[in-house]
Symmetry: C2
Subunit: 446 residues, 2 copies
């Protein structure tokens, strides 16, 4: 006999959770589609070579690999290595790049796609960190137009608006400014290290950031200049002027400022709220080359969405010159935040709108026919399957949050009125089928 | 540089396919929910011990295993075995049984759940057979009520009805009749072998079935009796009478006939069509103990849905007495069949309803504001991201099946009428925003 348990870091979702997740995914998906983004899917398993080396050394260690079978396994056993040539997808970005290159002749560019699928990482499980979790990515690839960034800003605002989550802050920066900063400090060759350290600011604080910069050889005056820039706050247009002065001789910097300015201007024209220029925003991933975004909420410690522009992602698979921009919604984190703030609609917990009580074979036959009529009107309903005590049937309705119980006893068969009980108020009314349909339909609408 | 390709037996889904798949899954899901079935999800990875031994020897070989990491891998390397303790889910039934046992105190019984997730099998890939594919399972567990079977018959009919697929045949039998048959032939101890051979009838034909029965030691008169029964056809009520005679001394047989009779009676009362009694239907899986179903279509060689009642599935994980019944829709096969018959709605290929042509920065800013208004009305639309030749923009609309193009040039900014082109007819009208909204909304409705 096997024990009923699941691997650590993985989760089962019970109906109440699965329904909330469906509501969350459906909401995000509807916003993506309203902007003309199309879905794609990629397989859970990729060639190991597709993934290896794309996520740094630590990433390589955290990839779940698929054990070879049969003769290939025997050969691996003999040689003592190469036990796997396939692995589970680690994110949606690398498979997306692979997909674009592989199918480029079948796609229309700019290619606007979204993808909502699980990814797997052998991270140490902890609160809020799982080994299997969903990513919801939306990307536009094959254009340098900054209107793509603007569209993503609109999408971010609409998604959180529809989820009823207010107070969301969208932090914005541009990798070109970080590149310019490294040039300005005469530390171009340390751009990546510098970015990685700045990226930790939220976690470790400014003092530690300075210490770490110092430990990799940044001089005090370099650190001071750097801190002066990344901690700039205030009105974006004033900051843009100041940065334009600072980077007067550094084309990357001027370009970065110009791009950011465009986004802030468009946001104003389109009434997109919640944008905040944050010159300390770095985002760890090396493939970003332009605008970078990170969405946070004051009541949640980690970012709930993030992304940026990449100029060369598909070159990993041999296709150059495919600039794109994308963001990823952290579905599990957003779920936790919505739960924490009580923002899941009550109705995401209801299944059927009405339960038909079971009074016996003849009554059930009749009830099934009425149930079929309700379903034809788009009303979800179920007939209790067993002839047991009413108390048990009502408990079932209660446990499943079914708001109404219809009791069709032998006297009701063929009659004009049916007794329907409202589970919340406890009140029972006798209504015609038409009245019942209109009562339940109005609840469906809200 | 990595090559852009995916493991054999796996698939990418391009937007046109992904949208058709979403339509198929959404349709099935809506029917499940209309009968009060709730979604659950289980992780892709299960403990290897949860899966091993549940699918027979061949199944064990076809399970994808996850390679251990770190010290556990080193230990495996030293001992030369136990390279995996986790594996990818092989079907949804065993994880469901594990789920019910693990979470039994949090579930309401009868527990009605559906689950639509991918499964993985290291089968040799061939046309229509993949290493990653979706199963769409719907089960009701914790009741012996045959109304659960009736509900599944309703669900089968409604799903294929909504998909527009006519001519579907639902073949029905009962495992108790096969048990009775083995007793009737004094071959009780060969029940499983016998079932496996009968199960091959569709593939290998009656003569081969007889040969195989003979090869495992069935005598000619036993085979004759068996063939006489499994090939019975005609009016179900006549067959039921004849079976009642045959099995007069075999309680299992009488029970099986009674159960089938109930299903046919209820189907008649509820006007469920397409049912066919098929006494040769066996279904290979050993856990079935009552009604068994298989759905076929004359234009497709394999079954597109199937299932049955099991009395003891959860005992694999130590929970006895949990009778249940379930069916599984073969999403990939149904997809292929719908494609083959041209039954995917044209609109599953459309993304946005309208494309705003790009005439420059001022025009785009204006167009974005109009686009936001259309989206607020539930109309999906997109603004072309680059200022390029109109020809290219129209090709993009054409390639993405976007039915309308709105051209807002500098003269249109602030004006009352906007020129909208119907891509199918080639005709351009000048309409007010309200007229455009009502035009596009009416298309959304159908």
């Amino acid at each position: 006999m096997s024990k009923a348990s699941i691997p650590k870091g993985t989760r089962d979702f019970l109906p109440s959770e699965a329904k909330k997740r469906a509501y969350l995914f459906d909401t995000i998906k509807a916003v993506f589609e309203s902007h003309g983004y199309d879905p794609i899917e990629t397989p859970a398993m990729e060639h190991l070579q597709t993934l290896l080396g794309k996520y740094g050394e630590e990433g390589d260690r955290l990839i779940f690999k698929i054990l070879k079978r049969g003769d290939k396994f025997k050969a691996a056993l003999q040689s003592g290595n190469d036990f796997a040539d396939q692995a589970l997808r680690y994110d949606l970005t690398v498979p997306f790049a692979r997909f674009v290159v592989q199918h480029r002749s079948d796609l229309s560019f700019p290619f606007k796609r979204y993808q909502m699928q699980p990814v797997w990482r052998a991270d140490r499980p902890q609160k809020g960190r799982y080994r299997e979790f969903y990513q919801c990515d939306v990307d536009c690839i094959g254009t340098e137009s900054l209107h793509a960034e603007v569209e993503l800003l609109q999408i971010i605002e609409t998604v959180f608006d529809r989820l009823g989550l207010s107070g969301v802050e969208v932090r914005l920066n541009n990798r070109k400014i970080l590149m310019a900063l490294a040039q300005y400090l005469n530390a171009e060759e340390r751009l990546i290290e510098m970015t990685v350290i700045i990226d930790k600011l939220d976690k470790i604080g400014l003092r530690k950031v300075c210490e770490e910069l110092s430990s990799i050889g940044f001089a005090d005056d370099q650190i001071k200049k750097l801190v002066d820039i990344i901690t700039l706050t205030g009105n974006p247009s004033v900051l843009f002027e100041s940065l334009t002065d600072t980077f007067a001789q550094i084309p990357d910097g001027l370009k970065g400022v110009e791009e950011l300015q465009f986004l802030f201007d468009m946001a104003k024209a389109l009434n997109i709220k919640g944008l905040k220029l944050d010159l300390s925003l770095a985002r760890g991933l090396n493939y970003y080359t332009g605008a970078i975004f990170e969405v946070t909420h004051p009541d949640f410690k980690s970012s709930i969405c993030g992304g940026g522009r990449y100029d060369d992602l598909t070159s990993l698979f041999g296709l150059e010159g495919m600039s794109g921009v994308g963001i990823s919604f952290g579905a599990d984190r957003i779920y936790d935040l919505l739960e924490q703030k009580g923002l899941f609609d009550q109705n995401t917990s209801a299944s059927a709108q009405v339960l038909f009580a079971n009074f016996g074979e003849q009554e059930v036959k009749y009830a099934q026919n009425i149930a079929a009529k309700l379903r034809a009107e788009g009303i979800a309903c179920e007939v209790y399957l067993e002839r047991v005590k009413m108390k048990k049937q009502f408990s079932y309705a209660h446990a499943k949050n079914i708001p109404h119980v219809l009791s069709i006893g032998s006297e009701e068969i063929g009659g004009a009125l049916l007794p329907i009980k409202n589970m919340a108020s406890g009140e029972t009314q006798k209504l015609s089928l038409e009245a019942i349909i209109s009562l339940l339909n109005s609840k469906n609408d809200h």
